[in-house]
Symmetry: C2
Subunit: 307 residues, 2 copies
């Protein structure tokens, strides 16, 4: 499968593990699945009733990967895709998703990925989602993902989402349910610049006994961009949750962090921490003594903060 | 002024500084101002157009007190009162307010205190508000305070609110604006039991350069009671804010903490911490080795936590 240069570049950025046409994979380009492959333990089936795929992951899968990147290189497309993951008991898998937009035109390009994860018992699932946009056109680059994750008994779900740059507008909706002994690890990284806007709503229901969640959100807002975070952790049983949101505000940006912790059970233990502040001046000065310009020093600090 | 025993007891609980008919004071009993006095620097004037008083505090007032307790000992009353404080530049004053309800009847007793504070420059104002209710009747005891506080340049405002016990339902609305160099210190303590419900919304606007806010909220929820906290700190200038909410959850209670931190300026530095958890088991065990019953040990821990 040969991609044009723009698509190829975008694909490289969003699939940091390296996209290859081998094992289990599905590449969606400009609203169409252009190539796909199954592996022994992972089967990808095109949906009949709507755009998108069903991904069946066997309990036999151990330390396996599935790559399902989405690339939009044509201006003015609106792509809605429904992907459902059915993950059997005991599976151990890393799912590399993400969406990259190259928009050189003046019309809006928009991708709405609606993902649902149905996870059995004792599974270990890592889901990586990178969002990135580029292009010299005036057309907006919009990504509105909806993610629903049902984590079964004693399973572990690791969610790593990164909005690298270039996305003009995003509204993320994430809903997670944790069964008995299930563990959730979330790392959300987000950078906005210019007049971009980002809204992230996350609802974590700790339903099962001994379920736990650790959510870390780190963001940088530059220019006149706007960010709103609304993570919500609801303890419905004996459980632990820790939510941490740290943001760096720059220029004329605005950041709003509205975490909600809700204990509905006497043994629910939930902690939240949030901080918004400007870039560390001491660090900046220190780096500048090494001969860096202010911009270079800022870039280093931001990269360190986000990684 | 002779009060009946019930009213006398309630007054003692809510005015922890000790209410006396001297200096500046105003006692409101069952919807009527029953006694009042001015001091040299503090003048209390009954409003003409609606229930309530205007309190004028001169800049000459130094380390002075004004007591304005409200007592409701008759069942089935609904009392709405508007109190406005006009505090001149440089005043140094402690205002002891609060509302106590004794309700032995089967009708609801409700007090809505609507307070506004207009504070000049370089003033130091401490506002203490205790809420308490008692009585064997089935009638509800409801307190819905609305508090608006405008803190002038380089003034300090200290707000200490305590809901001691017995209040069946409360909805607190607090709005605060801070001018240049103004400092706010808030301590909110709240205990709910049985099937009580408490909602506290607080909106702090840090408008002025170098304004700062430190908000500490501590609560205990027992029985099947419900608590919702929604503090909001908005940084509109170079400013610092620190919001901390800690709650102990017991029995079948439910606590929701939804703090919002909102930075609208690159030099706004805002930190939030919140934690909800059950009573510390180690502390409980330790105290019980001293021969305390579980209830006694719990009471000690709660008292320590709230004080």
């Amino acid at each position: 499968m040969k991609l044009n240069e723009a698509a190829e570049n975008v694909l490289k950025v969003i699939d940091s593990y390296g996209f290859k046409e081998q094992g289990a994979y599905n590449l969606r380009l400009n609203g169409m699945a252009v190539c796909h492959g199954d592996s022994r333990h992972i089967r990808i089936v095109k949906k009949e009733d709507k755009p998108g795929i069903d991904i069946f992951i066997s309990g036999e899968a151990k330390d396996e990967q599935v790559h399902i990147p989405v690339v939009m290189s044509e201006s003015g497309m609106k792509d809605v895709v429904y992907n459902d993951f059915y993950i059997e008991d005991g599976a151990d898998v890393t799912i590399i998703a993400g969406c990259g937009i190259h928009n050189d035109g003046c019309s809006e390009s928009r991708h709405d990925g609606i993902h649902a994860f149905h996870i059995g018992k004792d599974a270990n699932v890592k889901y990586i989602e990178n969002h990135y946009a580029e292009g010299n056109g005036t057309g907006g680059k919009v990504l509105n993902p909806v993610t629903k994750i049902y984590v079964g008994e004693n399973s572990i779900f690791t969610l790593e989402t990164t909005q690298i740059k270039g996305v003009d507008s995003t509204e993320r909706e994430t809903f997670i349910e944790l069964a008995k002994g299930a563990k959730l690890f979330v790392t959300e990284k987000l950078m906005t610049h210019a007049d971009q806007s980002a809204i992230s709503n996350m609802d974590v229901q700790l339903n099962g006994e001994n379920s736990s969640a650790r959510i870390v959100s780190r963001s940088v807002a530059k220019g006149t961009s706007r960010q709103v975070f609304h993570p919500r952790a609801v303890g419905n049983n004996l459980c632990h949750a820790h939510v941490q949101c740290d943001s760096i505000i720059m220029d004329e940006a605005e950041i709003s962090s509205i975490p909600e912790i809700n204990a509905k059970h006497v043994d629910a233990q939930i902690v939240h921490e949030a901080a918004i502040g400007r870039i560390n001046d001491e660090q900046l000065t220190k780096l500048r003594t090494f001969g860096m310009s202010e911009e270079e020093a800022e870039a280093v600090i931001i990269e360190t903060f986000l990684n």
